[in-house]
């Protein structure tokens, strides 16, 4: 019951975690670990994702990492981890996260991956990024977010550029993959830049 006859500036009906076709959801420790373990058999996916050496990981190992993740999120509050699920099937297709949150600034890094091969190239990543940015700026009050993308990942470069991210730095020859060296691109997006298209 609010004092102005139901009129309120805050649109509480707007769902933060629901996109058109996907949703950001919590982990299902057992089931998701089984599925993510399958994704780690795909070295191509892993190498696009991050600089750590690609290696297949067992469901048990992944479940343990989920447990550590959840514990750390509760205790330290320096990251937010979401699974990406298709709304209709409620099936796991990827993950999206804000990590390395530095609250005094406040700044976070952003990363997402569509692990389910058949679900790539359909714009689910863009949808998830859109939700995550809304969450970062409107729920967490971050000042800016950043993303690290290897130059050999054109899909991710395009994704972040389309979302309005600015290429801020190029760490030359930071990565060694496939027998040669590659640059790491650092992207940044300020809340005030994001707001222009999301008043």
């Amino acid at each position: 019951m609010n004092g102005n006859n139901g009129e309120t500036d805050m649109n509480l009906q707007k769902q933060l975690f629901e996109g058109e076709r996907i949703r950001l959801a919590s982990l299902d420790l057992e089931k998701d670990a089984e599925i993510e373990s399958k994704w780690t058999q795909d070295a191509g996916y892993l190498r696009l994702l991050d600089p750590s050496p690609a290696r297949p990981r067992s469901p048990l190992l992944i479940k343990k990492s989920y447990e550590e993740l959840e514990k750390r999120a509760e205790e330290k509050g320096d990251h937010f981890y979401f699974t990406i699920r298709l709304r209709e099937e409620d099936s796991l297709i990827g993950f999206a996260r804000l990590y390395g949150i530095h609250w005094p600034i406040p700044f976070a890094l952003i990363q997402l991956g569509i692990g389910e091969e058949g679900c790539r190239g359909r714009g689910y990543g863009s949808e998830a990024l859109e939700l995550l940015l809304g969450y970062a700026f409107q729920e967490l009050r971050l000042f800016s977010v950043g993303a690290h993308v290897p130059e050999y990942n054109p899909v991710a470069l395009h994704l972040f550029e389309k979302a309005g991210f600015v290429q801020e730095a190029r760490l030359r020859q930071s990565l060694f993959r496939q027998g040669r060296r590659w640059d790491m691109i650092l992207f940044g997006l300020l809340e005030e830049e994001w707001r222009v298209n999301h008043g």
Binding site: P51, P104, F143, R170, L171, Q173, L175, F176, L190
Partner: protein
């Protein structure tokens, strides 16, 4: 072979947690130093807290970091610390961080000498391919020092710091093994001419 822990003005020493913790506690009273050093909120910390932190870092760092104290060649005074961290062995890449807590040694080439010495360690001893660092835009003395040591500007995280109500950028710089080698050759030629 040269003593790779020795530069012209400083040497890289080992870390004794108690001694370094006492120095940290002394240096951390200086907020100008702290605000040039990193983006954590400045705060004084006890010797005990510092010591526990240093011990934990040394233990958990393992092969993924190499840290040293910076000591003057003349007088063996402890004036700062320098470390290679987040070493990514599969990419031959790492970050470097440096702090000179003793203010009377600022702007006199001690930091540059320590940086050159640790770069030699990174490239000649650890066989890395690249060293990366970040520095705040309001720290021209450090930027100049890193340029002298051979680092190249690679970009900036815009408005990534919050100081006295103003937004400031963080700059990124990097040096590749080949660039460092070229510098060594130039310096050798220079030495031969001048002697």
């Amino acid at each position: 072979m040269d003593d790779i822990f020795r530069g012209q003005l400083v040497r890289l020493g080992s870390i004794d947690p108690q001694t370094l913790a006492e120095a940290f506690t002394r240096w951390n009273r200086d907020t100008e130093y702290l605000r040039l050093l990193d983006d954590e909120p400045a705060r004084p910390r006890s010797v005990n807290t510092q010591k526990t932190w240093i011990e934990k870092e040394l233990e958990e760092g393992g092969d993924l970091q190499h840290s040293f104290t910076i000591r003057t060649m003349e007088g063996d005074e402890l004036i700062g610390f320098i470390g290679l961290f987040e070493i990514q062995w599969n990419h031959g890449n790492c970050w470097v961080g440096i702090g000179l807590g003793e203010r009377e040694y600022w702007g006199k080439g001690y930091g540059t000498d320590a940086m050159r010495t640790v770069l030699r360690y990174a490239f000649d001893e650890l066989d890395l391919e690249r060293v990366t660092l970040s520095v705040f835009e309001y720290n021209p003395r450090a930027i100049r020092s890193y340029e002298k040591a051979g680092f190249t500007h690679e970009g900036r995280a815009r408005q990534a710091l919050n100081r006295d109500g103003e937004r400031k950028d963080i700059l990124f710089m990097g040096i590749l093994r080949d660039e460092w080698k070229q510098l060594q050759l130039k310096e050798k030629v220079h030495d031969n001419i001048s002697t």
